[in-house]
């Protein structure tokens, strides 16, 4: 093992490999920042260049690209309300409101630190969990997924800002949107209006781009002003404050990183769930829960640390069993095959040095781009002070580009545009966009896992109580519902009475 670690390290930093690492990291950062592109597109572009390279160099370059993408995506999420990649969605919930409050530099600094440290955490856990990864993967099936998702769904009322009923309505609308398309279980096409485009349902990125970015651009044009509603000097000290936030909220950081790693290990969950779940959990447990979604920096700590730690988690089943922990890991497996590397347990057995080279490349890439982020954050933050009628067209162009880049389908642009207007009207009439997105993201997985659980069950819904982990989640769920609907209102009433008294 020690020899493999040393060989892996030498392979990563020796010879010309660091140049490939740097190229991969920079490309990954750019592909992360540009909405709709992301890690898969970056690696697809890199793969032909890696033909003829020794496998370890190719894997270092690819891993470095993957490592840089999440932080790149957070930059556009924070500055423009456009998630650079799908797993940056929850970063828009608090990152962009921070920008509106003139705290863009702090937000980017927080994201940089959370990204780098989250990646380190994820990779450390990867190394420690190798002996038990099989047990973890085998413990999580559809009933466990369903119960975890329910945690998120029952929290939706927490995020209804202003009008509670309108917030719930938006959440329900998000759930309805999630059900559009081909149902995996019944084979029915729902609300597709006879079109092939809606076979796979409404795509997440065009929806989010429309609901958050385009609606915001329309808002900027109609109301005028700048993205930042508060004038700020954007000093480097703000960025350093942002970095320190990760240490201020270390419990949130550790918990979110652990959650991100765990969700990354479980195949089928994906980066979006890790990002959103970590944010929801942080909001549920924070004393400042009411501020989440309005520019609470703890939300950025939670979402970004989970977003980066998940890669370490996702790498575990990918390397150990050839089971991709995420969409990006599926691409990594493809790269293995193209370079004649085995997929499955043989990879760890026969190429442990390349495994370590991948781990080191991920680590170095994350730290490198975080440093780039810290150094440039102060200047990037100045974008928030540019006039709205200059920024709005840029946001709209980037949004359309991002929506189109996913599959090259022009209908994605139409979807983004339609939901741009929907989002604008929602803001005008006090409907929560956040609950709509939560309902949408969680709804599809909840329905799929619920159906799968019932079909595999011999006892119907009792399957959720018969499996220990699902049953534990169910009990925690009941406690959460009681807390949100009984204990929390009691506390608020008491606080109100004390204030009046």
């Amino acid at each position: 093992m020690a020899e493999a670690i040393l060989t892996g390290l030498v392979e990563t930093i020796g010879g010309v490999t660091p140049i490939y690492l740097l190229v991969g990291a920079l490309l990954g950062l750019i592909f992360g920042v540009l909405p709709g592109l992301g890690g898969c597109a970056c690696v697809a572009l890199l793969i032909p260049f890696t033909y003829g390279m020794p496998p370890h160099q190719a894997m270092v370059m690819i891993a470095a690209a993957f490592g840089a993408v999440p932080f790149g995506g957070s930059i556009s999420a924070i500055l423009l309300n456009v998630p650079g990649t799908a797993p940056n969605i929850a970063t828009t919930f608090d990152g962009y409101p921070m920008t509106q409050k003139g705290r863009a530099g702090e937000a980017i600094g927080t994201s940089a630190a959370a990204s780098a440290l989250g990646a380190v955490f994820g990779l450390l856990i990867l190394v420690m969990l190798i002996p038990v990864v099989r047990a973890i993967i085998m413990s999580f099936g559809p009933p466990e997924f369903f119960m975890m998702i329910m945690f998120g769904l029952v929290s939706i009322p927490m995020f209804t800002r202003g009008n509670f009923i309108k917030g719930l309505f938006a959440g329900a609308f998000g759930l309805m949107l999630a059900f559009v398309g081909f149902d995996l279980t019944t084979g029915m096409l729902r609300y597709s209006f006879g079109t092939l485009y809606l076979y796979d349902g409404i795509k997440l990125i065009p929806l989010v781009i429309g609901i958050f970015a385009i609606s915001e651009a329309i808002n900027l044009v109609t109301k005028g002003g700048t993205v930042a509603r508060v004038v700020s000097k954007h000093k480097f000290s703000d960025v350093i404050e942002g970095v320190k936030n990760v240490f201020r909220y270390k419990v949130t950081f550790l918990r979110s990183s652990a959650l991100g790693t765990l969700i990354g290990i479980i195949p089928g969950m994906g980066g979006v769930i890790a990002n959103v779940f970590a944010w929801i959990t942080a909001a549920q447990l924070s004393p400042n829960r009411e501020k989440f979604g309005t520019g609470e920096v703890e939300g950025v700590v939670a979402s970004e640390s989970a977003n980066n730690s998940k890669d370490g988690g996702a790498l575990l089943p990918t390397l150990a069993f050839g089971i991709p922990g995420s969409a990006e890991m599926a691409v990594l497996l493809g790269a293995f095959l193209l370079h004649g590397l085995p997929v499955g347990p043989r990879m760890m057995g026969e190429h442990l040095d390349i495994v370590w080279a991948i781990i080191f490349a991920l680590l170095i890439s994350n730290i490198l781009v975080a440093l780039i982020g810290v150094v440039t954050a102060q200047h990037l933050a100045r974008l928030s002070g540019v006039r709205g009628n200059i920024v709005a067209p840029i946001i709209i162009c980037l949004s359309f580009m991002g929506a189109f880049a996913i599959t090259g389908n022009p209908y994605d642009i139409l979807v983004a545009l339609i939901f741009g207007f929907v989002g604008f009207l929602m803001v005008r009439h006090d409907f929560s966009r956040l609950t709509l997105i939560l309902g949408f993201v969680l709804g599809k997985l909840a329905e799929e896992s619920f159906h799968q659980s019932l079909i595999m069950s011999d006892t119907g819904v009792l399957i959720f109580l018969q499996r220990p982990i699902a049953a534990s989640f169910f009990i925690l769920l009941i406690l959460l519902v009681l807390f949100l609907n009984v204990i929390l209102p009691m506390r608020r009433r008491k606080a109100r009475q004390q204030k009046e008294g």
Binding site: L189, T195, D200, I323, V331, G334, T407, M456
Partner: protein, 328 residues
């Protein structure tokens, strides 16, 4: 005869000979050589980057380029919507100039018209060959009480997992269940082959039909093979009987086929150039060696006519089982 009239007569004869000879010369002249390719070739893959069909296509790329008569590039486009139907539709309406080709999954492409509004007609594509076929098998969890097809036939219900209703694994399941006489009940559907394999390893479901190479590399020792859907036993699982040995030879052709295709009405010369280049590429020792190294054996290569026959054959076969699918 006067001199003038003689000259006129000779002139008419000469003109007549010219009028007859010229078309004959044109017909006998060698055909102008088709200059192909002169620009990049767009290669549409119906899976996401990193998926099985994508990896196959990208690994094949250098060998295809090597065997084309002129230098060019291949530009890959991953269009994975609607189970591949979007990519097939995209190729269907592309200009038939040889600069748009794709890799199709048969029988996947044959199933789609039964369950969704597709915009292509399989019988009209220009077929260029089969790159590879899979060997599928029926697997159960290693702790399962089922050890043979007979055990499955005697069971009340066997819980199956599949990769979605439009998938080859589901199709094989319903066909095998109907012909072999076992009850698969309601099938638990998963997204992706890996998730499906993991579900059976975990014990959430009992059985699945899956590509034997995929199971071997990901879950060797965790799943027990019951039968191989092929004419003979598979070298990786030498103790597993073939479906022919078990008395159902008509099921031996059930497998995934990677079929190269282009838009309808592609010029015959260009289709031949592409078909020949693809044939040489998939039979290249370097490409076959890659497949062996990657546990993705390259087998069952077919030329254009045979590939077309196979694809159309699947369309006819599915007519028999269409009632088993949810109707669109």
């Amino acid at each position: 005869m006067k001199k003038g009239r003689l000259l006129i007569l000779l002139g008419c004869i000469f003109l007549g000979m010219l009028l007859v000879a010229l078309p004959l010369m044109a017909a006998c002249a060698p055909a102008a050589k088709v200059e192909y390719p002169t620009q990049n070739i767009r290669y549409i893959v119906h899976s996401k980057v990193g998926g099985g069909f994508d990896v196959f296509s990208r690994a094949l790329g250098p060998y295809l380029l090597k065997n084309l008569p002129r230098e060019t590039n291949i530009i890959y486009e991953n269009i994975s919507g609607a189970g591949g139907a979007e990519s097939y539709a995209m190729v269907y309406v592309a200009k038939p100039d040889g600069y748009t080709i794709g890799l199709m999954n048969v029988p996947g492409a044959s199933v789609s018209p039964y369950i969704m509004p597709v915009k292509y007609d399989l019988s009209k594509f220009t077929y260029l060959g089969r790159g590879c076929r899979s060997i599928h098998g029926l697997f159960v969890n290693k702790k399962s009480p089922y050890h043979s097809l007979k055990d499955l036939q005697q069971a009340e219900i066997v819980k199956f997992a599949a990769v979605g209703i439009a998938s080859t694994s589901y199709l094989m399941g319903i066909i095998a269940a109907k012909e072999c006489g076992f009850n698969m009940g309601e099938v638990v559907q998963y997204k992706g082959g890996t998730a499906t394999i993991t579900a059976v390893v975990r014990g959430d479901t009992e059985a699945l039909f899956m590509d034997m190479d995929s199971v071997y590399s990901r879950a060797k020792g965790e799943l027990r093979p019951i039968l191989t859907l092929d004419t003979e036993r598979y070298a990786l699982y030498p103790d597993t009987p073939s479906i022919v040995e078990l008395g159902y030879p008509e099921l031996a052709g059930l497998c995934n086929n990677k079929i190269f295709y282009g838009p309808p009405d592609m010029p015959a010369e260009i289709a031949k150039i592409l078909g020949d280049a693809l044939w040489k590429a998939v039979n290249d020792p370097g490409f076959i060696a890659w497949g062996e190294k990657a546990d993705r054996a390259v087998r069952g290569q077919l030329k254009a006519d045979e590939a077309r026959e196979l694809s159309l054959g699947w369309m006819q076969k599915l007519e028999k089982y269409k009632d088993l699918y949810p109707q669109k």
